[in-house]
Symmetry: C2
Subunit: 327 residues, 2 copies
DNA sequence: ATAATATGTGGAACGCTTTTCAGAGCAAGC
DNA sequence: GCTTGCTCTGAAAAGCGTTCCACATATTAT
């Protein structure tokens, strides 16, 4: 296929002029411009974007890492990112990392070798050092809190989320409360646990270890929780659960085993997945789509503003309680 | 940051030799290779991938179009694609098209300007001419049947799916059966409708127009169906529904309005989304993840085999009935 | 001993576009 | 009449790696 030189030759002008036409620069004689456009059309010419990228040093692509693609929480974030990205003419490179630091590093590497202009990490398992290191090659935003010095973040206030959930349950009279969270030692989980323990202490309740469930990631994990609860001496009257599909598993399994929700067991979830609405789950919700939108905005600003290099910023989203039928 | 020329100079060799080291070509003296690697390390050098792309004419990126990111069906397909892609060192550019031909064309364009090596369309709204046109610039696979001459596809046999569902319902004694499908005139929908009408005719039942619902895309659409059914003179005893989240909407709304499932209304869904399992929905299922896997395999073969250019291939996935509690 | 093959290396062309710089022509302003 | 400032254009450099071709040396085979 033709290249810019050929177009220039056919039009009897220099490549500079053709380039100006392609990029809508002013200072091109209207007649020539029309002539060149006609030839471009005839030759069915388009720029080779790799040459453009090489020359400009930008690709108009941003990377997005997430542990797994097929998950509503992450899909909602991407939805938010995607909507914003399309408006600013960016494309998305979506990279599944399986929470594997190796795979994550290979994505960070894309910043270094200039395949992407910036990176949004919906979740991360790399160390802070690694993050800081790669932040030198291009802007990175995480959708979780992080304690690096240079990587900004947009995140849900998970402490606040569990606080609201706990206060709500306690106001309803619950004192025997358990919890389910995902990855045991993630930043998010730590904040959630802190709220949980603080709130229990505030009413002088000693936490019951058997009512704490960690590494709950799938619907099945939620179902399993109910089985385990049945084996405990005394059962909690309420569970606060870090996401609604786990909550859904709990609710379904409970109803199968004749435990009525909310009478025997109240359940509060913590996100805005549609399954929560479908099953009428009470939830402390923040919009993950909105988080994605903010993440893109922050990233975009950093791509275009050199002053922001290394300047850390944190944006926290406040959750709201959505009362439904499981409490 | 250093480039290959600088590395060559520091090592006292030519750029060719450095390039050979970078690409693991044989015929490089081991001692030199070690020396060069050391310098690369010291200089913290990595290739500029845009230069590599320009030079090789490949990007190792494939595009994926889908109408919306936040949808379990499409997420499952991507999951299958992603798993396969990572093994072959391809990255994914995920592009939301909102079923808008304009946006779809902008993705097809990526093929023309060499930003991607191939394209998988999970759904498409472009015309066959457009597809054929762009197929000239790189391999395209659709995850729906299509009647172009040059674009291959991997798709679920939707005719078979509805056939199995209908036969099952009829064997259970149903004669008053309605349906819900998504986009009215998509290929998929046409095949489904054909099976529906053929089966009804085979037992001499005249279809009831008010029991046909098209453009059902969201859970809410499913709920609305129940409302509309209540207004019909006579209600169907069963519904066959093209996807499980619509089915979920129907079931939830039905139970809210005191219509018991399956006694008053049996519901058969048609995919393998987890919501189907959660709500125990009987479904005629094919694995969308597997479809994604096959789509990648087919695309990959076409990227590497020039002989296949323009040679159309179609792969059909057969569904199986999964009997659960809604029938 | 000679031919043939394998190993190792450099030069230069190729892939393609953007952008800076220099300069030409022309109009307006003083 | 001369300066200033637009408008318009082209040459050339810069961005960077891959690969073909030519050539040299070292083995191995005949």
């Amino acid at each position: 296929m033709a290249n810019i030189r050929e177009i220039a030759k056919l039009a009897g002008v220099s490549v500079s002029t053709v380039s100006r036409v392609l990029n809508n620069h002013p200072y091109v004689n209207e007649k020539k411009r029309a002539e060149i456009l006609k030839i471009i059309e005839e030759q069915n010419y388009v720029q080779n974007s790799n040459a453009v990228h090489l020359s400009t040093g930008k690709t108009m692509v941003i990377g997005v890492t997430l542990p797994l693609v097929n998950n509503q929480y992450y899909s909602s974030i991407i939805e938010g990112i995607a909507a914003e990205a399309v408006q600013h003419h960016y494309k998305l490179m979506v990279c599944q990392t399986n929470n594997n630091p190796e795979q994550e590093r290979s994505v960070l590497h894309l910043l270094k070798n200039k395949k992407i202009d910036g990176l949004i990490m919906c979740s991360r398992s790399s160390s802070c050092e690694t993050l800081n290191e790669y932040a030198g090659y291009g802007p990175i935003i995480t959708c979780e809190a992080n304690d690096t010095t240079s990587v900004s973040s947009v995140h849900i206030d998970h402490y606040q989320t569990f606080l609201i959930g706990m206060e709500y349950l306690m106001k309803k009279g619950h004192r025997r409360i358990g919890y389910c969270i995902g990855r045991k030692n993630s930043f998010n989980s730590q904040h959630r646990k802190r709220a949980y323990y603080e709130k229990l202490r505030s009413i002088d309740v000693t936490p019951t270890p058997e009512w704490s469930f960690e590494e709950c990631l799938t619907i099945q994990d939620g179902k399993d929780v109910v089985g385990k609860l049945l084996q405990t001496e005394e059962r909690p009257t309420a569970m606060i659960v870090s996401c609604n599909h786990i909550a859904a598993g709990i609710i379904k399994e409970a109803s199968r085993l004749g435990i009525s929700v909310p009478e025997d067991l109240a359940v509060v979830g913590c996100d805005d997945q549609p399954i929560g609405e479908l099953l009428e789950i009470t939830t402390v919700s923040s919009s993950s789509t909105l988080m994605g939108k903010y993440a893109f905005e922050m990233l975009h600003e950093r791509i275009w503003t050199q002053q922001l290099v290394g300047k850390k910023e944190e944006k926290e989203l406040s959750p709201v309680l959505v009362e439904r039928l499981t409490t």
